[in-house]
């Protein structure tokens, strides 16, 4: 398997197992490479929009749908607690895991809590809404804002 794909799978596998971002040396150990090679791969994966990195170039901010930092979108599945980047990604975590779970978030205007049960075939009926502010052509202009 190509090295960058090994790194990508190791990163996503770590998020899926633990709910938290891996340190570069954890990925280096997983793929049998040194940390510098992993960080180089992170940069290429960033260019492919697979990862979003913090300004240090080595800390994973986003491995969509997973967030490397705490957010208001929390997902629980299989005894693991995850943070998602946005409302879309909150459901995306469960879609990626292929597991039932719970999404906890809030109405961004009122603060009313959202607790959404998601089964293997999707969420229970809900009349909550998802609002998309940025047009699709510009999602990656500033993915943090999007």
């Amino acid at each position: 398997m190509e090295f960058d794909n090994q790194v990508k799978l190791a990163v996503y596998g770590h998020f899926a197992r633990t709910g938290r971002r891996p340190a570069p040396d954890e990925i280096a150990a997983a793929v049998g490479a040194d940390g510098a090679a992993v960080i180089d791969a992170y940069g290429r994966l960033r260019a492919q929009r697979v990862l979003v990195l913090e300004s240090d170039g080595s800390s994973i901010l986003m491995a969509p749908p997973f967030s490397g930092v705490p957010t208001q979108h929390i997902v629980e599945a299989g005894g693991v607690r995850y943070h998602a980047n946005c409302a879309w990604d909150a459901l995306g975590v469960l879609a990626a895991l292929h597991q039932p779970g719970m999404v906890h978030s809030r109405c961004e205007q009122s603060g009313e809590p959202l607790h959404l049960e998601v089964g293997q075939d999707g969420p229970a009926h809900s009349d909550w809404l998802f609002h998309c502010l940025v047009p699709a052509a510009h999602w990656w202009d500033d993915i943090g804002f999007t």
């Binding site: 459901l91 995306g92 961004e108 998601v118 999707g122 502010l133 699709a136």
Partner: protein, 79 residues
């Protein structure tokens, strides 16, 4: 990309920030988007939909128009 309890709450949020109200998507539509984007993400052969596919996916879910067109330049560069 945020959750809102109702259209009115979304309108208030946009108004207070001087932002236009964007499309509002149901939870069922959002699940369809989430599975389309992410169901293979943990697999070796994972791939994201490409722009032409994205347009078709959005249209199939009733999300049509330039807002959902990944190739549209109607909105100009991001501010």
């Amino acid at each position: 990309m945020l959750f809102f309890r109702s259209e009115e709450r979304a309108r208030e949020w946009c108004r207070e920030r001087g932002q236009p109200l964007g499309p509002l998507v149901s939870v069922a539509q959002l699940w369809a988007l989430a599975t389309t984007w992410y169901s293979t993400r943990l697999q070796e052969n994972a791939r994201r939909p490409q722009p032409d596919e994205m347009r078709e996916i959005f249209a199939r879910l009733g999300l049509a128009g330039e807002f959902w067109d990944p190739r549209s330049d109607r909105f100009g560069p991001a501010a």
